[in-house]
Amino acid sequence: MDFPILSTIIFLPLVGAFFILLSKSKDNKSAKYISVFTTLINLILSLFLWYSFDNQIVEFQFVEEKVWIENFFKYKLGIDGISVLFIVLTSFITQICVISCINSIKLRIKEFLIALLVLETFMLGVFCSLDLLLFYLFFEAGLIPMFLIIGVWGGARRVYSAFKFFLYTLLGSVLMLVAIITIFWLTGSTDVTEIYQIKIPEQYQTILWLAFFSSFAVKLPMWPVHTWLPDAHVEAPTAGSVILAAILLKMAGYGFLRFSIGMFPLASEFFVPLVYVLSLIAIIYTSLIALMQDDMKKLIAYSSVGHMGFVTLGVFTFTTQGIEGGIYQMISHGLISAALFLCVGVLYDRMNSRMINDYGGVVSILPKFSLLFIIFVLGGLGLPGTSGFIGEFLVLLGAFKKNFLVAVIASIGVVLAAAYMLWLAKKVIFGEVKNDKVKILKDVNYSEGFVLSILVILTLFFGFYPEPIFNTISPSVNNLIDVYQFEINSKISNIN
């Protein structure tokens, strides 16, 4: 590969952020233009990356390799079918965030855009890196801009939420750092592709798996370490919530696929019951909590935990359907939850309230907005025809293959999701207009309508035509499962 396209995609936002730093216009116009321009180029580049990505090849593509720390670590980037989608998702969502926050953020917009672009660099880096230390570096570095986004531009309890977010995630991650160092001394490498070949001894796998798990479980988040998420979501500004739900949570799901299963297949098999139990608790318990919320953002945040429960459930079935469903669920949740948070942001910008009881009868005042909102609500509950359905359906399919009981319990979660989502729609959109403030609201403006319409189109498109995504991920997923099965079988034959 001659042109380092991955490095370009990763570091372009950083360059953009630097130019915003230098820009000096009074109304921050140039800062806005630069950010939109940078993210747009990045989106085009990532789409081009997806386009030129060869579906037939199982190995990592666009690999870039440089010595980074002599004798120890490499600067190694590369993508396969799984990561390319997340790169596109990240560029897309950041683009959406930039467009939406340009109008909604009034205070210190220049700094906000810088933080957002720096964050984009780190997020893209996570999905591209093929070296464990590099991965860790990007994974952790994202905390700094996110901490500032929540803390500076957040709501009333922003300080508490920012600290909780930062410390929870950091605590989970430091164990991963110990594990990475241990892997280095065990195998002499932190290059993921090399570790796949070397195969870590089984007695180490369990403990290393747990160390990685502690980090990903916090980030995902899984029950019982999910408590930072509702706080962070509620207090973060709209763009922050969108990034958090759409991408930061996906890093952990991606981490499970790339690292936990890829490097520790035996331990992954061993811990399947643990993951199932935690996922089921997440699905049922958080859905019940979501039913009790009176804050819209909190409701969506809890629903995110439930949806991510489906992801882990699917991934750890180790079936084609399950894993593909899990990935699909992540992509679709990235679109739908982003859209839902944007919708709440639209309401919040007008009413300064996120409480469900303050609304009601919005449909008669804001018809366009209500239409969009309802589509996303239906997507969130997994109605057939939206992208949410395909992911959940495949996950359940995979789960039925493995364990009937688990699948049945998970299906209850689908019903509960429908319950809280419809309840949210009923309370906010339908009914009578009780609050006088609602009566004078204006419908979505041009940029809001544009952003939400794109998301609607994508949600419906991927609901009816999932082919492009499956074509991209299938070879990589099948390869992952083959390797995993090979390991399990060789272990069984060893025992015999």
Partner: protein, 469 residues
């Protein structure tokens, strides 16, 4: 024929001090001149040390040696002292502690440090250490009309004298049980069966832990840091720590090499205790200098974790950590020099509130330095911790690594608290717009190093590792 060139650095420094002292006595109002000449003298020293080269050789019956480790540490000391003198001048003038003795005493302390580092003999080691300590007592109370400064000087003196006593007792025990004062000869005599010598090792370790302010011999640190003028605190937080680390490495590497497992246990304990106390005790501090004191205690814990491995790799990672620590601390204190309100220097953390609105660049510098101190990637502080834990895990000390990283999370809390005050709180106070070129440029350079460290993280490490060979 003895090669007198080996000790040329110290002779050069010593004669320089004598000349400056004469100048100070005979020329009136000579603070400015002597201050600038001291900086020049130190710059000259870098070249002299550089000429020393990397060979290891000794003179005076091998009681004084020059080797790569000592030369590296000497350069580190000289460079950091230059920067500290360079940045703190405005502060010294504003606080009217501009006595001509000030730079000269610092030079004397440096002379003592140079002897300590180069010593290969207990007697020379002790003499050097005492010259350093005596100078530091005077420096702590240099603002003698200020009650707090005098108090910190006395406190430092009393406690430090006690630790010097213990150290000396250990040295005499060591001589008694091995029959020699030379490090190499002691090493040959010292075995695990030699219980008396192990006692001596404990006493010496206690004395040295005091000098680097490791727990449980840290009590003096917060008070002395708070009481001394900030320019002196800056010096305390950086330079004596470098010396302490170099001496600990020297002791562990040469005389105590054969009783590795005995001193390892102690260092592990000291390291863990320092990490925990440094992380927990700093949380409730309201004075930024006290915060930096506890932060430095925590950092010493991480540095000692590298020493505890007893491998060359561990030592080099500790030295790397120390180098980055020096950069971070110089940057942090340079920021503190800029906390001036209506001509009065403030030390309260709450005065920083809302700094990001009034002085965005200073706020960003604080942000970078404090996140780096917390060890968040991709900043330099992360790599410092990373190298230390790399060597710790290599030696299979998993518990030490896990405790160390857990305390990172706790200590991240109070660094974040400062960031929170700067970025999230409403603006209350406005600092003076200081046109202080030395401080501003130092902040800029240290931030630049911390940010760009991840581009070439191995360069510095390779240099240090090759030095230790």
């Amino acid at each position: 024929m003895q090669n007198i060139n080996l000790i040329f650095t110290e002779l050069y420094l010593f004669s320089g001090i004598c000349i400056l002292l004469m100048l100070g006595v005979y020329v009136k109002n000579s603070f400015n001149k002597i201050y600038n000449l001291s900086i020049l003298l130190l710059i000259g020293i870098i070249f002299v040390i550089y000429k020393n080269g990397l060979e290891k050789s000794g003179i005076f019956l091998d009681s004084f040696i020059s080797d790569p480790l000592s030369n590296f540490v000497k350069i580190l000391i000289a460079v950091s002292s230059i920067i500290i003198l360079f940045t703190s001048k405005q502060f010294i003038l504003d606080n009217k502690i501009s006595k001509f003795e000030y730079p000269i005493i610092i030079l004397l302390a440096i002379l003592g440090m140079f002897f300590t580092i180069s010593s290969n003999d207990i007697i020379l080691f002790y003499l050097g250490l005492e010259l350093q300590s005596l100078s530091l007592y005077v420096l702590a109370s240099i603002d003698r009309d200020n009650l707090k400064s005098s108090e910190s000087g006395i406190k430092y003196f009393v406690l430090s004298a006690l630790s010097s006593g213990l150290l000396l007792y250990g040295c005499s025990l060591l001589y008694g049980f091995t029959g020699s004062t030379n490090f190499e000869l002691i090493k040959n005599e010292l075995t695990v069966e030699n219980i008396g010598a192990i006692f001596a090792m404990v006493f010496i370790l206690v004395g040295l832990s005091f000098k680097v302010s490791a727990v449980p011999f840290h009590m003096w640190t917060p008070d002395v840091y708070e009481g001394s003028p900030t320019s002196i605190t800056n010096f305390f937080a950086v330079v004596p720590k470098v010396v302490g680390l170099a001496v600990i490495i020297r002791f562990m590497d040469v005389p105590f090499e054969n009783i590795l497992s005995d001193w390892q246990t102690i260092i592990i304990f000291i390291s863990v205790a320092s990490m925990i106390l440094g992380a927990v005790a700093a949380i409730r501090q309201t004075n930024i200098k006290r915060l930096m004191a506890y932060s430095s205690i925590g950092h010493i814990g991480y540095i000692l974790a590298g020493v505890a491995t007893g491998t060359t790799y561990g030592y080099s990672s500790s030295l790397l950590y120390m180098t980055i620590y020096v950069i971070m601390n110089i940057g942090a204190f340079s920021c503190i020099y800029l906390m001036r309100k209506d001509g009065v220097y403030t030390e309260k953390i709450s005065d920083l509130s809302g700094l990001s609105k009034k002085r965005p660049l200073l706020a960003v510098s604080f942000l970078i330095i404090f996140f780096s101190l917390a060890g968040i990637p991709p900043l330099g502080g992360f790599f410092a911790k990373f190298y230390v834990f790399l060597s710790v895990v290599e030696s299979k000390m998993y518990i030490l690594a896990i405790v160390g990283l857990m305390t990172t999370v706790i200590s991240a809390f109070y660094y974040l608290k400062v960031v929170k005050i700067i970025y999230f709180d409403e603006a209350k106070t406005t600092f003076d717009e200081l046109k202080n070129f030395p401080t501003n440029s130092t902040i800029f350079i240290s931030c630049l190093i911390l940010i760009s460290f991840f581009l070439y993280p191995s360069v510095l490490n390779n240099v240090i590792f090759n030095l230790l060979g």
